[in-house]
Symmetry: C2
Subunit: 206 residues, 2 copies
């Protein structure tokens, strides 16, 4: 089963390059028209390939979408590792990690939904599951840093990370529906997370 | 502009009844086939009415969907007021309020998304906005109760309520995508919220 460049180490350079082009075209179609715009025919047209060319690289539309989601998760993990390496510590580091996902949701809403939302999640896939675990770990690593410096409580890190990520996702969704800012007075999702981290920090210091 | 029984006080009883049937048919179509299944033609067929009958009661599909969402929000607010009137106090009361929304998301996923999610939110509409505010207030009233008995910190109630609701939404989404339970060890969304409320309660008592 070929699912794209990431998992296709044995492919020739030319073949990998074609798979890359197909994934990039699918990502652009998602950005421009949402999931409905992503058909293998449209992807082939966008890459100036024959209509059946995508099938040489992907089992079908689901496998191609899974590869787009996998690559986005890999990129998010890279960005979170970059946040962790930057000279910003404590709560501000976690808020910078929040900004990474807020920016992804803002700039690539259909791809954000592909990665994180039901009912449009990418089909389950081994590579995708591994990339999701890696990305979650990169986020949780930052939570662990905050626990280490006392800005978050010493509760189980996985559960704290999952809870905080869920809150970010919920605030992004509330903001997208236009209902977040008026009543909260928050200018953005980061402000909402700053509020929650403040409350949790009070608990950490008690 | 007629948008259904709730806002159509001047309609005759027979007309209100037809609008009710149309809204109920739309809700059933959402339950059975998601938003794609809701066309005014399908709604007319499901209610044994002529194809143009829905237009006598709703400006179009968007107005009908908005009415479904409005009624669901009114029902959620009623359920939350019921939770508040029940002889369960403190953190358990808030967790019962969480169960209300988790059950709605589980039993009516397409209607849950219509109410709470982008990219499928119901079109903005005055009745809908009012129902959303009323429902949020019913949830926040329970948060205020928890602040009153010391189980949540005395931070701005609106912001705390919005944050907690966002976390519930994010955990529901994570659970729907199949990624919540394995790593967290939580058996359901309520368990995740119990974890967060525990941390916030530690802060409240500090």
């Amino acid at each position: 089963m070929s699912t794209g460049a990431v998992s296709a180490g044995a492919m020739s350079t030319a073949a990998v390059s074609t798979a890359d082009r197909l994934v990039e075209a699918a990502a652009r179609l998602l950005d421009d028209g949402g999931q409905a715009a992503v058909t293998l025919r449209a992807v082939a047209t966008a890459t100036d390939l024959s209509h059946n060319a995508p099938y040489k690289h992907f089992d079908g539309r689901d496998a191609l979408l899974a590869e787009v989601a996998t690559r986005d998760l890999i990129h998010l993990a890279e960005q979170w590792r970059g946040v962790r390496a930057a000279p910003v510590a404590g709560r501000a580091r976690l808020l910078d990690a929040v900004d990474v996902i807020v920016a992804f949701a803002r700039d690539h809403p259909a791809r954000y939904r592909l990665v994180f939302d039901s009912p449009d999640p990418a089909p389950r896939h081994d590579d995708l599951d591994a990339a999701a675990e890696t990305a979650l770990q990169a986020f949780i690593d930052i939570v662990v840093d905050c626990q280490g410096d006392g800005s978050l409580p010493a509760s189980p890190s996985d559960n704290l990370g999952i809870t905080l990520f869920a809150t970010v996702h919920g605030l992004i969704s509330a903001d997208a529906s236009g209902r977040l800012r008026a009543r909260s007075g928050w200018g953005d999702v980061r402000a909402g997370m700053e509020f929650l981290l403040g409350l949790l920090g009070d608990g950490a210091r008690s």
